[in-house]
Symmetry: C2
Amino acid sequence: MTKILSGKEVAASLKEKLVAEVEKLKESGKAPSLCIVMAGDRPDSASYIKGAVKRCTDIGIDCHVEKLPEEISQDEFLEVLDRLNNDSKIHGIIIMRPLPEQISEDVVKYKIAPEKDVDCFNPINVSKVMSGDSDGFPPCTPQAVIEILDHYGIEIKGKRAVVIGRSMVVGRPLAMMLLKRHATVTVCHTRTKDLAGEAKRAEILIAAAGKARMVTRDMLSEGAVVIDVGINFDENGKLCGDVDFDDVSEIAGQITPVPGGVGSVTSTVLAKHVVEAFKQQEGL
Amino acid sequence: MTKILSGKEVAASLKEKLVAEVEKLKESGKAPSLCIVMAGDRPDSASYIKGAVKRCTDIGIDCHVEKLPEEISQDEFLEVLDRLNNDSKIHGIIIMRPLPEQISEDVVKYKIAPEKDVDCFNPINVSKVMSGDSDGFPPCTPQAVIEILDHYGIEIKGKRAVVIGRSMVVGRPLAMMLLKRHATVTVCHTRTKDLAGEAKRAEILIAAAGKARMVTRDMLSEGAVVIDVGINFDENGKLCGDVDFDDVSEIAGQITPVPGGVGSVTSTVLAKHVVEAFKQQEGL
């Protein structure tokens, strides 16, 4: 029988620890605080923000959404960011992307204070993920993958991990994070010649290709751990992952569902990063 | 018959192009310039500097070695660096490492101007290697590997590349660079369980483990391309690579020797980076 790796369970466990920790930290008279910056109005951003704010608030983190007009100039945007960077009451900052077209991500990413950059936008944090420095903040989604593996006691060290996808949001940083944890890591992508052959070698398979149900049973070895990072909608508008869950579920040893898998953990990882940022900045 | 991939040939070809390019660029009335910063006196650094200065000078690059006392304080060191960063006549800067113990690499690396950082010390350039931005400077050694593959017309796209070693100087950046060039990349290291099995799958095998002659014929598939980044001395004090050259040379399709392989190309890559930095900074 395939074991389900429940993201909800992982999130609940992380949350419990964070609630207790934040309660204790608040005895200092200060509270961790997150600011989410959104220029313009996108339905997907609004839905992400709603989830993140609820999760963080539940944990005891103050949340503030800095709503900016769609047409804000880059200079004005950077002024706002500068104010937030220098506001000692704000410990974590997330900038919703994509930004309006008049604002360059390549400019903005250098301006977010690295110590408040809880979702790895600033290149300084990107480089820390690559070098394995643990004082930076890796992006929340790959960190959620690691949290799931750790929660269920799945050993990473010495394992053959195969990552499908090489994005800067998941595939590449996750490859570096698995490498830091001593996995032997293979990164596959659209140009990989024998994807099924590569995937079949995985003891831990991470699907982060962004393609609905692309991972099928012929790509899996009996007993493999399958982590599905995909969030797609199929032809009937139904939410699904990169893995064909029904097809592989007899083969996989353990598997995350979609929904209820990796996506359920990311906002809690965000909260964890805000709490870490708070401790670092307040010297707690 | 195994074909030898001659680093000397690659370096000579790169040099020829650079000499012509620099000659043309000098018509602007300006010349590319490299400054090598060395605090203290280490025989291995001195030998590296000698080689780099000779190669750069031959290409028409002005070279200057900034020799600093071993006991220089971190503040004084940073003052010197700041002066070099702001000197418009200097286009590339290399800081010899390891630095004396009173100077923190983790402080200094953030202070070298990214646009002059021709060997990827500054985290901004590290993050560009990870994200595949081509306007940064990757470290010279992994770039030398890419130059060798390109010179000999060895296709990277779609190939299975296996990198042995996960250092920040070679393994990790090279994995990202091969990924950018659309290889399917596996990174192995000391904790890899079946190293021979992984290596045997390589169409392109990169040995960057820093262990004398560790790659033997049982780890290789017939016809594989073998790039040896190792620079070691064996028990008899003889220079050798990470690959047991004699043992594998009947199996490998193409192979770089040591000496005369990757190491012969790095100083020319350094020169190439200085010329690129010069063009960027002078808008040529």
